[in-house]
């Protein structure tokens, strides 16, 4: 099992509990869609799975590593080596060019593979754009760069939070198709947060979060 989430609880200070005992699992290479209403805790669960935040109770294991026992450095190492992230806001590094953004995570993880990055660049249709800066790209182009950056590091798990939420229908479909193709081709597991039933239906499994629990 690549990812195991066991009875995880999370409450932000001064707010009602967001997660009230969530459990789910994800195999290597599997794709999972997490759906739910706004504010149901989807993004929070994704952040916890990606070692971006800490939980109050329960346990999360990623590739056999229990996240509750990790300090800040351990969490950072896990994010660097095992996980990749794609956000709705793209969150590229504005001071680096497209080409530099694409290779950045892979270089951080020490797994830079120029052939793979070049293939990704071609398949994502970014070959003409490598010298540009993120703000010179459209939303769809930026998201393609974010996906490329994530997959270039050959992560075990790709966490994607509403990756097409900022895109129009056409761009959204195109980007999602591309991402699923690449994920499957690379054997990466995908944990996708989405509002869209249409997109969720295309993944191997689906979980629905409601009232802080998996329904």
């Amino acid at each position: 099992m690549l990812l195991t989430i066991e009875d995880v609880k999370k409450t932000y200070p001064g707010a009602r509990p967001v997660l009230q005992g969530v459990s789910l699992t994800l195999d290597a290479g599997q794709t999972l869609a997490l759906t739910g209403e706004s504010g149901s805790g989807k993004s929070t669960l994704l952040h916890l799975a990606g070692a971006l935040d800490s939980f109050d109770a329960g346990e999360i294991r990623l590739a056999g590593t229990a996240l509750s026992g990790l300090d800040d450095t351990g969490r950072a190492a896990l994010r660097r080596d095992r996980v990749a992230l794609v956000f709705q806001q793209f969150n590229l590094i504005p001071s680096l060019t497209v080409g530099q953004n694409l290779g950045f995570h892979a270089r951080l993880a020490g797994r830079q593979d120029p052939v793979w990055i070049e293939e990704l660049t071609e398949r994502l249709g970014l070959a003409e754009l490598v010298a540009r800066y993120p703000e010179q790209l459209s939303g769809g182009q930026q998201q393609r760069v974010a996906i490329g950056r994530a997959l270039a590091a050959r992560p075990a798990l790709l966490l994607a939070d509403e990756p097409t939420g900022n895109l129009d229908e056409t761009a959204s479909t195109a980007v999602m198709e591309l991402m699923l193709d690449l994920v499957r081709a690379s054997g990466t597991a995908l944990f996708l947060v989405t509002h869209s039933d249409r997109i969720a239906a295309r993944l191997d499994a689906r979980a629905h979060l409601s009232g802080g629990c998996i329904a």
């Binding site: 952040h47 950072a76 969150n91 680096l96 950045f104 270089r107 703000e135 939420g165």
Partner: protein, 804 residues
């Protein structure tokens, strides 16, 4: 509509209180240092004006002899011809341990002076006592308290209407105190002259008639000092404005979205611009008001030292108390308003010309900044060139300060392009993704922090420049003291009779007794102190001559030539081989020019017999005594026992040097304080830049954190980035500071004080300053870095939240 728009604009400051505080602090600091300097200048000038009123003779014309004093017989002849004239004798004299200005006048004929009028009101018999044998001195309270205890002086009357550092007395007493019997400096031409007089031009063609200039000499002498202070105030103001510019720029950048929305909602651009101008006006008034309060406090703290410097260096009468004067208060507010306008103009212009539907990002900002950098580089080079041209075309201090202004501002404008170049080169050498990102990200941050770094560059360069100037001066001064203060012991007798007795007593008990005797003369309408020296190798072996003619000392000792100091040489354009007229009928060739630091007035050295033949009543109370250093304590003990001398009458060489150095150091207290304040403001500029950039940084840092860098690593990188930029700025500040030091030593000092000093280098000081710059940048970056380190992940995650 206006209310709603104002509410929207003000909401930015409510949400960014730190930015508001930064803006106000920048304005307050800029106004404070400028106002402090102006308050000090205004107080000093008011003191000069008060002194002019207290000693002035209204608008009466005066008669002067171009080459020196007016002999008494000439005055008598004019009086006999019917002219109503009043004689005045003025000079500096040592009374007890103090050097004071003695103003001697004829109380019967002189136009009423406040000091005399007030004293006569209190005591009608005062005039009689003043003219009687022994006479009377009228002195300000602080001086009177000291002079009352000095033996051998006339009675001292206290008066608030005498300028600080001055005593007024009858001209007969002044002749005695100044050792200038029978001499008159100027004759006041009284009003209501009888009709039918022979014109003065016929009676005394050798005398010059001119309008009164009492007080203007002091103002002229001290102009350079006040100009120096003003330059420092302006530098501090500019450094403060960098903070304002940076903060306003950022605030406008952050409000682009709001402005776009307001305009989209139908708010006319013209009204929006007016509202923003009104907002800036209110902020400028608040910041300026705070600055005035701060400035008053700074000025009140610095004024006593400034007053001491002006009194010591120029004999200028400046009181130590500070008053609130409309001139600098209004001036400070105007500067705050103008400064805010200048600092905000660019941001406001961009806002007004911003397209309604575009939102430039970091790279657009960086690219615009890069285009700006090219313009800045050209403007910087142009300013430096213009400064150089100004020095050639405009002689004097103004040209010198124009060069400094061009150099400093030009170099500040060149800083961002220079840093961009270095960062570009650094990126080429970067290893690994983090290094690559760090260099690129630092380059991208440059537009945001560039202004603060320019402020740091100016502050550091000013520190290096002024520090090098002061330290070079101190080193030269110390060496010069070693040459000038050769005698092992210096003593001051109570009076001439005791002086003669002590000299006789000392003769068999020492290697040599060297009298220190001087009298004041006038050379080219400027007072010059002429010292008479005895023929002794102490002088010829040690005197710090800058240039000399062959057989100089032989000719001086023979009474056939004179040495003059550098100040007189430069002011009067007299050098070795020229001739100087010390008094009517007494002209000597110049055998050499000597350095004479820390003295604003002209000086000459002649053989003692030659001096005595032109000023017979020169006091004979001060002596330098040559003997072996080990014998000094014993001799001091014996002298005190034999002549009942007070402790202050005897001082050994080390003591006198220490005293001289203490006076020297006091002179630069104000400069040092302003230097430190400017550096503090620059450090604050970095802090405010980093804090205001904080909100922009999170979206740039969060993705890197999410990709696997810890907050600790990011915080350390942020700290390292600030240290790197500060270090690069400090390195670039060094050549600028040295160029500034050269201008100060070779141009400003020569113009302001009349001496040129050699330039020495002080690498240890540079290292200390380098450390200080890193400390300032480190402290400034520590707060944002600590915030980043301690930032909960949930805060960083907000960057990725869909709601953003």
């Amino acid at each position: 509509m206006i209310g709603a728009a104002l509410q929207a604009l003000a909401s930015h400051w409510r949400r960014h209180p730190l930015q508001l505080a930064t803006l106000l602090a920048g304005l307050a600091l800029a106004t404070a240092l400028w106002s402090a300097v102006q308050a000090i200048n205004a107080e000093a000038r008011a003191s000069y004006a008060r002194a002019t009123a207290q000693i002035g003779s209204g608008a009466l014309d005066v008669l002067e002899a171009p080459g020196g004093p007016i002999p008494l017989p000439r005055y008598v002849a004019l009086r006999r011809a019917g002219w109503q004239l009043s004689p005045v004798l003025e000079g500096r004299a040592r009374l007890g341990d103090l050097r004071v200005t003695v103003l001697g006048l004829d109380p019967v004929t002189h136009p009423p002076l406040p000091a005399f009028t007030a004293a006569m009101k209190r005591d009608a018999a005062m005039l009689g006592r003043m003219l009687a044998q022994g006479g009377m001195l009228i002195a300000p309270p602080d001086l009177a308290a000291i002079l009352t205890d000095v033996p051998g002086l006339p009675k001292v009357q206290v008066s608030d209407s005498v300028p600080p550092g001055m005593v007024m007395t009858d001209i007969g007493v002044a002749e005695r105190l100044l050792a200038r019997p029978g001499q008159i400096d100027r004759l006041l031409i009284l009003p209501n002259q009888p009709p039918g007089l022979t014109p003065l031009a016929d009676l005394a063609p050798d005398l010059q008639r001119r309008v009164s200039r009492a007080g203007t000499d002091t103002a002229r002498l001290t102009d350079s000092f006040h100009l120096n202070l003003t330059a420092f105030g302006l530098l501090s103001f500019a450094v403060g404005l960098f903070i304002v510019h940076g903060t306003v720029g950022l605030a406008f950048e952050q409000r682009r979205g709001m402005v776009r929305t307001l305009r989209a909602l139908g708010l006319p651009l013209r009204l929006l611009t007016a509202l923003m101008l009104g907002e800036l006006l209110v902020l400028a008034l608040i910041g300026g008001g705070l600055g005035l309060v701060l400035g008053y406090l700074v000025a009140a703290a610095l004024l006593p030292d400034v007053a001491a410097t002006l009194r010591g260096l120029y004999g200028a009468p400046v009181a130590g108390g500070l008053s609130l004067r409309p001139s600098w208060v209004l001036g400070g507010l105007v500067m705050a308003l103008a400064g805010t306008g200048v600092a905000s103009a660019q941001a406001l212009w961009r806002m007004v010309h911003m397209p309604l539907l575009s939102a430039p990002g970091l790279q657009a900002w960086a690219q615009r900044a890069a285009r700006g950098e090219r313009r800045m580089a050209l403007a910087g080079l142009g300013l430096i060139g213009a400064g150089g041209v100004a020095l050639v075309l405009v002689p004097g201090l103004v040209g010198g300060f124009a060069l400094i202004a061009g150099l400093m501002l030009g170099a500040a404008l060149l800083l961002p392009p220079a840093l961009a170049l270095v960062l570009h080169l650094g990126r080429r050498l970067a290893r690994g993704p983090v290094g690559d990102w760090l260099w690129a990200d630092t380059r991208a941050q440059l537009p945001g922090i560039g202004l603060a770094l320019m402020a740091l560059l100016l502050a550091l360069a000013a520190n290096v420049g002024v520090g090098t100037m002061v330290s070079s001066f101190r080193l030269t001064f110390t060496g010069w003291l070693d040459q000038r203060l050769v005698s092992e012991l210096y003593l001051t007798a109570r009076d001439d009779a005791q002086g003669e007795e002590i000299a006789r007593w000392l003769a068999p008990r020492s290697d040599a007794v060297l009298p220190i005797r001087s009298a004041e003369f006038t050379v080219q309408s400027v007072p010059v102190t002429v010292y008479g020296v005895v023929d002794h190798p102490t002088y010829s072996k040690n005197w710090p001559l800058l240039e000399q003619a062959p057989d100089a000392w032989d000719r001086v000792n023979a009474g056939a030539a004179a040495f003059i100091n550098e100040q007189l040489a430069r002011r009067a354009a007299l050098w070795s081989g020229d001739r100087v007229q010390l008094a009517p009928g007494w002209t000597l060739p110049i055998a050499g020019v000597y350095s004479d630091y820390g003295n604003p007035t002209g000086q000459a050295i002649v053989a003692l017999p030659a001096l005595l033949s032109h000023a017979s009543a020169v006091p004979n109370r001060r002596f330098g005594v040559r003997l072996s250093p080990e014998a000094v304590p014993g001799l001091m003990r014996d002298l005190r026992a034999a002549f009942d001398l007070p402790a202050s009458a005897l001082i050994d060489q080390a003591g006198l040097k220490a005293q001289s150095l203490a006076v020297f150091d006091k002179t630069f207290v104000v400069t040092g304080a302003l230097n430190l304040l400017t550096l503090g403001v620059a450090g604050f500029a970095i802090l405010t830049s980093l804090l205001t950039l904080w909100s922009l940084r999170l979206p740039q840092l969060a993705p890197v954190w999410a990709l696997g860098l810890t907050r600790g690593t990011l915080a350390r990188l942020e700290l390292g980035r600030s240290l790197l930029l500060a270090a690069l700025t400090a390195l670039l500040a060094l050549p600028l500071g040295l160029a500034l030091a050269w201008v100060l030593l070779a141009v400003i000092n020569v113009q302001a004080f009349g001496w040129r000093l050699p330039m020495y280098l002080f690498p240890a000081d540079w290292l200390r300053l380098f450390g200080l710059a890193l400390l300032a940048a480190g402290l400034a970056a520590a707060l944002p870095a600590r915030r980043l380190y301690r930032l909960p992940p949930s805060e960083l995650l907000k960057v990725f939240a869909n709601a953003r």
